[in-house]
C-alpha cells in the first residue's frame, strides 16, 4: 500500500495492445543479460544452420596427410588426428548439440508442464501420488538412469531425447507445479471455477499464460543442463557415435593430445561453454526481467 512503485496515476499515453510477442520483446530488451544470452544462443543456432556455408570442409572426411596440424590459414583451428578440420567439426557440432538438446528440452517441458499444471489444478490424491512417484524417480541418479536407458535401447538421438525426458521430467513437473500452485489460488482462477469452466479451459486460458515466464526460464536453464548432460554422455562414449561432429565427443577424442594440438580440444570446449553461458544468461536475464517487468507494469 505504501510502496513507491505503485503508480499514482495510470500512464497518460495510450498503451498499445500488449501482444505476447511485443511484451516478450520488451522484456528481452530491458535485460542486458537476457539480450546477450539470447544473442549468443541465436548466433550458435545460426552457425549450426549455416555450417555448410561457413566452411568448405567436410566435418567427417579423413585426410591423413593433414593430421594434427596447428592453426594455419587453411585450417583456422587446426586439424585433429584424422586430419579433419577442427573448425568445421565445431561448426557442424552445434547441429547435434543444439538439435538434440532442444528436442529433448521441448519434450521434457511439454510433458512436465502438462503434468505439473494438472497436478497443481487437480490436487488431492493425484497430486500426492504423483509427488511420491516423482520423488522416487528423482532419487535415482540421473546419470545411472540415462546410462541404463541408453544401454538398453542403444545410442541414437531419439533414445537420448527419451532418456533425458525420463530423467528431467520430474524436476520440470516440480517447478511447473510450484509455479502453477502460485497461480491456482488467484481470484481470477477462482472466478473461472465459479463460472464452471472446464479444467482444460482454466489451464489454457488462466494458468498457462501466467506461467509462460516460468516455463521459458525453465526452458533456457534446462536446455543448458541438457547440453552439458549430452556432452557428458558423448564424452563417456554413450552419446553420439563417431565420426559425428559433436563437441563432447571431440573433447573425448582430442583431450589426450591437448598439449600438442590444444585447439582441437579447446575449440569444442569454447563452443560448448559459450552456448551454455548463453542459455544461462538468457535464463537469468529472463527470470530477472520478468520479475522486474511485473513491478514496472505496476501490478
Amino acid at each position: 500500500m505504501t510502496t513507491l512503485d505503485t503508480p499514482a496515476a495510470v500512464p497518460a499515453v495510450p498503451v498499445a495492445p500488449a501482444s505476447a510477442a511485443a511484451r516478450a520483446w520488451r522484456t528481452v530488451r530491458s535485460s542486458r543479460a537476457a539480450t546477450i544470452g539470447l544473442a549468443i544462443v541465436a548466433v550458435h543456432v545460426l552457425i549450426a544452420l549455416l555450417a555448410p556455408l561457413l566452411t568448405s570442409y567436410d566435418p567427417i572426411a579423413n585426410n591423413a596427410d593433414q593430421a594434427l596440424l596447428g592453426p594455419s590459414w587453411e585450417h583456422w583451428a587446426g586439424t585433429d588426428q584424422y586430419g579433419r578440420d577442427v573448425l568445421a567439426r565445431v561448426l557442424y557440432g552445434g547441429r547435434y548439440a543444439i538439435g538434440v538438446s532442444v528436442a529433448a528440452t521441448l519434450v521434457t517441458l511439454l510433458i512436465g508442464t502438462v503434468v505439473g499444471c494438472a497436478a497443481a489444478l487437480r490436487g488431492g490424491w493425484f497430486d500426492d501420488v504423483l509427488g511420491r512417484v516423482l520423488d522416487a524417480v528423482l532419487s535415482v541418479p540421473s546419470v545411472l538412469a540415462l546410462l541404463v536407458i541408453v544401454t538398453a535401447l542403444g545410442t541414437g538421438p531419439s533414445v537420448i531425447v527419451l532418456a533425458i525426458a525420463v530423467v528431467y521430467v520430474p524436476q520440470v513437473v516440480r517447478v511447473v507445479r510450484g509455479a502453477a500452485l502460485a497461480v491456482v489460488p488467484a481470484d481470477y482462477v477462482t472466478a473461472a471455477r465459479a463460472r464452471g469452466e472446464s479444467t482444460w479451459a482454466i489451464l489454457r486460458r488462466e494458468i498457462l499464460p501466467n506461467i509462460t515466464d516460468v516455463v521459458c526460464v525453465e526452458f533456457a536453464m534446462r536446455a543448458s543442463w541438457v547440453v552439458l548432460l549430452i556432452s557428458s554422455l558423448s564424452f563417456l562414449g554413450f552419446g553420439a557415435d563417431p565420426p559425428t561432429p559433436d563437441w563432447g565427443l571431440m573433447v573425448a577424442e582430442n583431450r589426450t593430445a591437448i598439449t600438442v594440438v590444444p585447439m582441437a580440444s579447446l575449440a569444442p570446449i569454447i563452443a560448448l561453454a559459450t552456448l551454455v553461458v548463453g542459455l544461462n544468461l538468457a535464463a537469468d536475464g529472463l527470470s530477472k526481467a520478468w520479475g522486474v517487468d511485473r513491478i514496472r507494469e505496476g501490478s
Binding site: T2, T3, V10, A186, E197, V292, E297, S299
Partner: protein, 578 residues
C-alpha cells in the same frame, strides 16, 4: 523549543530498471518539523511517498533510491551525513521505527526476548513487554513471532522500538491489517506510551480516522509533494486544499444516513438510501447454513434472505466466517449443513414472494451445490466480486477479454463482435472509458481494476451480486467511487447484493440491512439504521466503539502544543481489546 525532527526540502528519487533506468522522483521537496513530544502525521494515498519520508528519519532508503536534494535532521544530526557508526547509534537510540506489518518485521528465526534485548537499552525485556500490556511477559519472551497473534506481534514491535528509549518514534501504518478492535487497542497503547515516555512521533497512515485521533500536526502528501500541512484540528475542521477536502469527504461516517457523494471540490452530499419496496422478491435465501473447514466450524447455523434491489451487509472481524459464507454462495465451498436457495427460474418476480422458496424451484436454484454442478443459468445469476482487484484479473489477458469471457461462456451474447460491443458497454456501465478494454490489468489503477471486476460479474447478467470486501484494498477516495458505483448498479439493475465488510462506516451508508457475524454465528441482525442507532449485542457495540472517525470534534484538541505538557493532554482510551 527546537524541532527534534527537521526535514528540509527533501527529494528522493528511485532509479528504475537497473543501471540503464531513469530516475523516478518519489518525494519532492518535502519539508516538515516535529517538536519534542508532538505527534506528526503523514497522510496520503498509496504512492504519495509518505513511507519513504518516514524511513529517511532513520537514514533508510529502499534499494535503488537516493536523496536528490534537501536534508533530514534528527536530534540536530544530519542523518544522511552521519558516518555508519553514528547512524547506527541514531537508530534505536534517538529514533526508532514500528513497521507496518509486525508479522513480517520480526525475524522469524529469533525468540521475541532476544530480538527486543538486541535493540539495546537498559530496560529488562520483561518490563518492556509489560509496558506494552502483554500478558505473561516472561513466558512470551521465549516465544517465536509466529506464535503470537497479529495484535501481540505489533505490541512486541512497539516494545522493541521503545527499548532503547528513543526520542522519536516512527510509526509506519502501525495498525493497518489489524481488526478494528485490535487496532483500537494498539493505538491506545501507542498514545499512552507516547505520553508516558514523552516521545515525539511521526505517524504514517492512510486512515484519516487514526490520524484524527493520534496526531497533533498533519502533513498531507500526494505524489511525493506536500499538499497541505496544518495542526490536526484546523486541518480536519477547515481543510484548505481541494485534495484534502476531497480526501476527508470521502471517508464514510458512522452517522451517514446514506451514501456520501463527494464533489470535485470536496463537498459532501449524502444520498438517501434506496428504498426497497416491501414486496420485492427474495433472491437468495439461506437457512441454518453450516460450513466446516476440516474439524473447524467456520459458519454455524446462519440464516438470512436477500431481496431484489436490497443490500444486505455481512459484518464481522477476520475469522468471523463472512467470506466463507460468500464463497459458499458462489459455489466455491460446499456447506456441510443447511440450505441455500436462489429464487431462480425465469418466472415473474412476483411468484417468489415472502421467502417461500423451499417448496418451489429448489432443484434449479440449489446454491448448496458447488459451481461445477449448478446449471449454467444459476451460475450466471449469482456472481462474486473479489476483495483484491489485483489478483482477480488475469494479468496476462486484457481487461476486455476478462469481461468478454463470461459473456461468451454464459451465452449472453451470440457472436464475437457482439461480445466486443457488449463488453465495451459493460465497461462504460462501470464508469470507465471503453478504450481501456485493450489494456492489461497492470496498466490500470486499483479502482479501475475493481470496476472491471464488477463489470465482469455483471456480464453474466446476475440478479445476485456478492461483494466480498471489495473496497478494502482501495484508497479512501477510490473507495467512495466504487461504493457509489455499487449503489447505482443495484438501483439500476435491482440487484440483490450481499455486501461483505469489516468496516462499519462503509456499511452504514450502503446497506439496507446488517448481519453481524462473530465466530461464524449471527450475533445481531436488523435494518441498518436500527442496528446502528441501538446496537443490541455487546459485540456490535464494541465494534462501533472501536471505529475511529475523522471528526475534528472527536479528535484531541490541539493548541499548538507549545505550552501544554504532552503528558496530561489526553486520557488514554479505554481498553477495547482483551
Amino acid at each position: 523549543m527546537t524541532a527534534i525532527v527537521s526535514v528540509t526540502e527533501l527529494s528522493v528519487a528511485y532509479r528504475s530498471g537497473g543501471s540503464g533506468g531513469r530516475d523516478v522522483p518519489v518525494v519532492r521537496e518535502v519539508s516538515l518539523d516535529v517538536l519534542p513530544g508532538q505527534t506528526h502525521a503523514l497522510v496520503g494515498e498509496s504512492g504519495s511517498g509518505k513511507s519513504t519520508v518516514a524511513a529517511t528519519l532513520l537514514g533508510h532508503l529502499r534499494h535503488g533510491s537516493r536523496v536528490t536534494g534537501g536534508s533530514v535532521r534528527v536530534g540536530g544530526a544530519d542523518v544522511f551525513a552521519l558516518p555508519a557508526r553514528e547512524l547506527r547509534r541514531l537508530r534505536g537510540g534517538t529514533v526508532a521505527m514500528v513497521a507496518q506489518n509486525a508479522g513480517h518485521a520480526l525475524t522469524p528465526s529469533m525468540r521475541i526476548g532476544r530480538q527486543i534485548a538486541e535493540a539495546g537499552g537498559d530496560v529488562p525485556v520483561v518490563d518492556l513487554l509489560e509496558q506494552v500490556r502483554l500478558p505473561r511477559p516472561a513466558e512470551l519472551a521465549r516465544r517465536y513471532p509466529h506464535e503470537l497473534s497479529g495484535g501481540q506481534q505489533q505490541r512486541v514491535a512497539i516494545a522493541m522500538a521503545i527499548a532503547a528509549r528513543p526520542k522519536v518514534l516512527v510509526l509506519d501504518e502501525p495498525t493497518t491489517g489489524l481488526d478494528v478492535i485490535t487496532q483500537r487497542g494498539v493505538l491506545d497503547l501507542i498514545g499512552a506510551l507516547r505520553d508516558e515516555l514523552g516521545l515525539a512521533a511521526v505517524l504514517v497512515s492512510h486512515d484519516l480516522g487514526v490520524v484524527a485521533h493520534m496526531a497533533d500536526e498533519v502533513t498531507v502528501l500526494r505524489s511525493g509533494r506536500v499538499v497541505e500541512a496544518a495542526a490536526t484540528g484546523r486541518l480536519f475542521a477547515a481543510p484548505q486544499d481541494p485534495y484534502t477536502r476531497r480526501l476527508l469527504a470521502s471517508v464514510p461516517r458512522l452517522d451517514d444516513e446514506g451514501l456520501a457523494l463527494v464533489g470535485a471540490a470536496g463537498e459532501r452530499e449524502v444520498r438517501p438510501r434506496a428504498v426497497v419496496s416491501g414486496d420485492a422478491p427474495v433472491a437468495v435465501s439461506a437457512r441454518d447454513v453450516t460450513i466446516d473447514y476440516g474439524s473447524a466450524r467456520a459458519v454455524d447455523g446462519v440464516s438470512f434472505d436477500v431481496r431484489r434491489g436490497e443490500v444486505l451487509a455481512l459484518v464481522g472481524e477476520s475469522g468471523s466466517g463472512k467470506s466463507t459464507l460468500a464463497w459458499a454462495l458462489a459455489g466455491l465451498r460446499t456447506p456441510s449443513g443447511g440450505t441455500m436457495t436462489h429464487a431462480g427460474g425465469d418466472r415473474p418476480s412476483g411468484d417468489t414472494k415472502s421467502g417461500d422458496l423451499r417448496s418451489g424451484d429448489r432443484e434449479s436454484g440449489d446454491l448448496a451445490r458447488p459451481a461445477g454442478k449448478r446449471p449454467l443459468s444459476l451460475r450466471r445469476r449469482v456472481q462474486l466480486v473479489f476483495q483484491n482487484a489485483d489478483t482477480s484479473l488475469n494479468p496476462r489477458r486484457s481487461v476486455g477479454d476478462a469481461v468478454r469471457r463470461p459473456l461468451r461462456f454464459f451465452g449472453t451474447v451470440g457472436s464475437r463482435a457482439e461480445a466486443v460491443d457488449r463488453a465495451r458497454q459493460l465497461i462504460s456501465d462501470v464508469r470507465l472509458e471503453p478504450a481501456l478494454a485493450e489494456r492489461l490489468p497492470a496498466q490500470l489503477s486499483g479502482g479501475q481494476r475493481q470496476r472491471i471486476g464488477i463489470a465482469r460479474a455483471l456480464a453474466g447478467e446476475p440478479d445476485v451480486l456478492i461483494a466480498d470486501e471489495i473496497t478494502t484494498a482501495l484508497d479512501v477516495s477510490v473507495q467512495a467511487d466504487v461504493l457509489r458505483l455499487l449503489d447505482d448498479l443495484r438501483r439500476e439493475r435491482e440487484l440483490a447484493c450481499l455486501f461483505i465488510s469489516h468496516d462499519l462506516a462503509v456499511v452504514r451508508g450502503l446497506a439496507d440491512r446488517v448481519v453481524v457475524l462473530r465466530h461464524g454465528v449471527v450475533v445481531e441482525e436488523g435494518p441498518t439504521d436500527a442496528v446502528f442507532s441501538a446496537p443490541g449485542h455487546p459485540y456490535t457495540r464494541q465494534l462501533m466503539a472501536a471505529v475511529l472517525e475523522p471528526l475534528p470534534g472527536v479528535g484531541p484538541v490541539v493548541d499548538g502544543g507549545e505550552n501544554t505538557p504532552p503528558t496530561n493532554r489526553r486520557k488514554p482510551y479505554t481498553q477495547g481489546a482483551p
